[in-house]
Symmetry: C5
Subunit: 100 residues, 5 copies
């Protein structure tokens, strides 16, 4: 999985029926050490009630369909966690403002 920041959203009226009611967010991948943007933004389905500005964990491929919200759905990316903190080499490289 990778981590990223929720930076936006996508709205589509004409879409696959199974996507009805799904929240389609734009996630900017982040470097796990610097917590700076690293890589191209992508569209990911929210499954945990995440919101703009939050740092989240994103799963890709067929595994993105392994949640109640995304089962049998044509999605290849899902947000499956809101990150509280990331620790690398004994140091916290990210700590959520609200969670501690």
């Amino acid at each position: 999985m990778m981590i990223g920041r929720v930076v936006g959203s996508v709205v589509s009226t004409t879409k696959a029926e199974k996507l009805n009611g799904k929240k389609m967010l734009v996630v900017q991948p982040l470097d796990m050490v610097t917590i700076e943007p690293d890589g191209k933004p992508l569209v990911s389905i929210d499954t945990v009630g995440s919101g703009t500005g939050e740092v989240v964990m994103v799963v890709g491929g067929s595994s993105a369909r392994q949640t109640a919200i995304t089962k049998d759905t044509p999605v290849d990316s899902a947000i499956v966690g809101v990150i509280d903190h990331v620790e690398i080499d004994g140091k916290r490289t990210f700590e959520s403002g609200g969670s501690e």
Copy 2:
């Protein structure tokens, strides 16, 4: 998922039987902030009645088979939505001409 613009189509007479009747479009991936071309065009199966010039959402891998049109079909990319608008950092980076 990624977003892209429908820029063309591919025609094949000799093809896998399950591809009969499928609309094979060429999609140019777009940067979600600048809405400029970014990355190589690919062939994607239309599942939502999209047309040339439209900005669409594209799903890849096994998830491309999770629609009525692409079920059990040898395709690794499907168009699953026509984008109305994209919003990033509170600004609309894309807005469909016809939808608002």
Copy 3:
């Protein structure tokens, strides 16, 4: 899916049993606008009777197994169509010599 040109073949005597009788071709991916080589050649299983020099459509990943020839077979790439023509921005960037 991507398009490529069939440029060669691979022969293997000692191979997974399910690969017996499969035609293993070498495909050079092509840029869809210039129809020039773009990216690394790969080995792909022919499912449509394609031959050297032809421009074909190639599917990757688990979807490569969604044909009668490749079902339950350890292959991650399959040729699923011979391309008649490619049209981008209203212009034919490729047209098969024999088909029109």
Copy 4:
């Protein structure tokens, strides 16, 4: 599969239900010859009791769900082995301190 070193961890309170109790580690991919960092760190689910500093084998995609711990779980990366040693061209490029 690739090899990497466990360098950290990620904590998430709000997450997909199936991720409860899973150990989410940060793995830095390594070059198999130099055993130096090579590529971006990623989040991987531990399935073998691995710990910080260890060199591990990581599996990606749907195969990451083929363990008792990750079955039907929205994860696209799993640690499936602790590496004792790597041998390339007849030389040990890596040997675990504790194992021999």
Copy 5:
């Protein structure tokens, strides 16, 4: 699929139960024209009795599980053939020493 040369092996005592008895080889991907190293080595499960120095065909992703040896196993790469020869543009770019 891609081709590569078997250059080494990985040993792991603490590993996923389903990996017991599997031969974990290190494969260096090769350019199919020059037969020179091209890309990063990876760990791949041998399913055809291949050995060091041999040029092999490697399958990735879920398709790597489509052999009797790798079924339901957490592996994303498998060696499924020993290459006898590769022919590109009418020329043999590789020919196994022992096979002809």
